[in-house]
């Protein structure tokens, strides 16, 4: 019988703000802090929560909640350090398959959902606090970050989901009898808050979680064992600014509708004729040698979406290797992939010519699969197609 309950023991984390597995190639893409989680003993990596405000393309200020690494900062408004600045999406976490690591959520000074009275039929908002759900790692209930199932299995007279929501320790792989994040998981996963996700996920509480192969951190998975030279994470998300207001709490009627207004890749808008420079990546070829680029597609949006790589008006073929962080038995050569909310897909393209490509995400309506009309935007920007730029020199 498998042992299902993890001992909270082993733990050490060293934090490297620039992951060694990332290439040193210079590019203009947005830098999201990347944190390697090597074999751990003690102490844990602390994640904290802070709020940031972004001015969107229509000059609206929108508040986001994000995770940051650390929790040792000073000041009354946030425990997050000021350097590096907190980002949307949250830091990328990377671990090696089969190792043991640990993440602790620090709740000091975290922004929370308004818990005041007046929220419909309750005097205290049941959705205060935060958790970490390691999306795709198939964690057991007590470390899955879901208050409702935690309460079901571990609640009682002396324990409730409040214990989980007030800060918690998430050991990953620490049970030697049940190594779950093994070679099967080599690929792209995500993490996010699982408290009142209709609100907290939309607020921006998500980041990438990459599982690397112990044999070769640049293998795309442990089945194909294909080595990549560089990687580009594309975390895609959508924003309905009404969800980001303080009125959107508890069981607000705001949540009965969803009107996406901003379409993001790595937290950046990019629809329109001009490429957002933060969505541009440059790769320099070595003469006579091609390079393999893996693009990690992460779906934290609330619409349909598809991905393709354009060269002018033509779609370029690429290869799909992983779905939801698990290897396909047979990689598929395709010209586009769909990415639904909660899904990840790892694709690879071989670059052997000096060309500029435009990888793009088309966000589309859940009902008719058509792109959205962004009626506030200038005429040239009125589609929900986010174009990025891949410059190959």
């Amino acid at each position: 019988m498998k042992n299902k309950f993890i001992k909270n023991t082993i733990i050490l984390i060293t934090i490297s703000l620039s992951s060694a597995v990332f290439s040193s190639i210079a590019y203009a893409e947005k830098i999201v802090p990347a944190i390697s989680l090597p074999i751990a003993t003690d102490p844990a990596l602390n994640l904290s929560v802070t709020k940031i405000t972004r001015i969107m393309s229509d000059n609206q200020a929108v508040e986001y909640w994000v995770f940051c690494a650390g929790g040792t900062g000073t000041g009354m408004s946030s425990m997050c350090p000021t350097t590096p600045a907190s980002t949307l999406p949250s830091p990328t976490l990377t671990m090696i398959a089969g190792t043991t690591t640990n993440v602790t959520l620090n709740m000091h000074m975290a922004p929370q959902e308004d818990g005041s009275s007046g929220a419909r039929n309750v005097s205290i908002n049941p959705y205060i606090g935060h958790t970490i759900h390691l999306h795709g790692l198939d964690m057991e209930t007590q470390f899955d970050g879901v208050p409702e199932t935690y309460q079901e299995d571990f609640g009682g007279a002396t324990k409730s989901s409040v214990d989980l929501r007030n800060g918690f320790n998430y050991p990953i792989n620490s049970d030697p009898n049940n190594i779950r994040v093994d070679d099967r998981f080599v690929g792209s996963h995500m993490y996010h808050c699982h408290v009142h996700t209709v609100k907290h996920l939309e607020m921006g509480m998500y980041g990438a979680f990459i599982v690397k192969s112990a044999s070769n951190p640049n293998w795309i998975n442990n089945t194909a064992k294909v080595t990549f030279d560089d990687e580009w994470i594309m975390m895609i998300s959508t924003v309905d600014p009404a969800y980001h207001t303080t009125e959107a709490k508890n069981d607000s009627a705001i949540f009965a509708d969803y009107n996406p207004r901003y379409f993001l890749v790595n937290g950046e808008e990019g629809n329109g004729a001009t490429i957002n420079p933060l969505l541009s990546k440059t790769i320099t070829l070595t003469p006579g040698q091609g390079k393999k680029l893996v693009i990690r597609l992460m779906g934290m949006h609330s619409t349909n979406a598809s991905f393709s790589i354009m060269s002018g008006a033509n779609k370029i073929s690429f290869t799909l290797y992983n779905v939801d962080g698990f290897a396909l038995k047979t990689p598929r050569t395709v010209t586009s992939v769909e990415l639904s909310p909660g899904q990840t897909k790892d694709v690879m393209i071989t670059l052997d010519k000096a060309l500029t490509y435009n990888p793009q995400i088309i966000f589309s309506d859940l009902r008719n699969d058509m792109p959205f009309n962004i009626n506030y935007a200038p005429a040239a920007n009125r589609t929900s197609i986010v174009k990025t730029e891949l410059i190959v020199k």
């Binding site: 309750v122 007590q142 508890n250 939801d324 769909e338 859940l366």
Partner: protein, 349 residues
Amino acid sequence: MIKFFQYFTVSLSFVLLSACGGGDTTSPIQPDPPPEQEPAPVPTPPPGGTKSDYSLFIQQGIVSIKNSPDTNFGAKDLSVWGFSSVESNPAGNSIVPGTIINAELGKTVTVSVKNNLATPHEFSFVQASANNIVASSPNPIAVGATTTYRITPKTAGIYLYSDAMNNGINQSLGLYGVMIVRPAAKLGNVVWSDGPGFTKEVTWVIADLDYKNYNLVAINNGVTNVKTANYKANYFLMNGMNGFQAMGDPNTTIQGTIDEIVLVRIANAGQYSQSLHFHGNHFQVISRNGVRLTEFEYQDTINIKPNQTAMVLYTIDQVGHYPMHVHTAQMETGGGVYLNGTAAMIIGK
């Protein structure tokens, strides 16, 4: 009487399948499998039980949305139309989705459908073809009339039936259900002959509903006053239930002991794509829209588009409670109430 003996291929509403394999263009699309051989007569009914005669009643009823236990809020009775197994005053949530028609491969099922509403309706299959279902009898069904359909399933799987009249409005009001076709009982718990095995099975019929712009308008003022352009779903149903209700429903819950394999048959009768995320373990996708996949890939999330179906195998490998929920913000709610949208529970024992 004569209708009982007429064998016509029913006028079916066909929906073109957009893609298979998760919507990756140019990925290999498997052709419809050839019709399976009709099995020999079997002495015992297949898993889930079957019968040869079903009676459905098209009529009005209620989907009763329950309060969230977290906030004691959200209860609402929604008037719907449905294919009920009960002719008068269907209770609770028994009217949506319609009665599950359990059929055995190659064996003809007779479905009598009586129209108790004030306008004509129909009974038809979505995604039907000569290779999977052969049904008979004309549509529509006149007011007060009963029409009988003889259906001879040729391929095991899950099939969505509905009333597709009025540009799909009738279906969105609740007139939908599924037929499950199983291989011969003597083969035991296999998804199809020579297909993968399983130990338990559940069926998830998911849907969405725009109460204000569709149901209230249609029921109070007539279907012709419904404007399809105005559709904005605000309730998301699992087997006709809100999320908290579905998570406590034994027929919806994936549950079993370690290493048990649960077959989940899923059909989306709504207008919105639903991206379903499973906790606890990855599952294997074995079929999409009736197309049997040659490689059963592991996923933790699957997008089911409107009028599409899928079958997945979920192996229980952890003790505890785990949610399955749609991963789209609004659709986790029912009328804005959290976790009252599309959801189910997974229990490992």
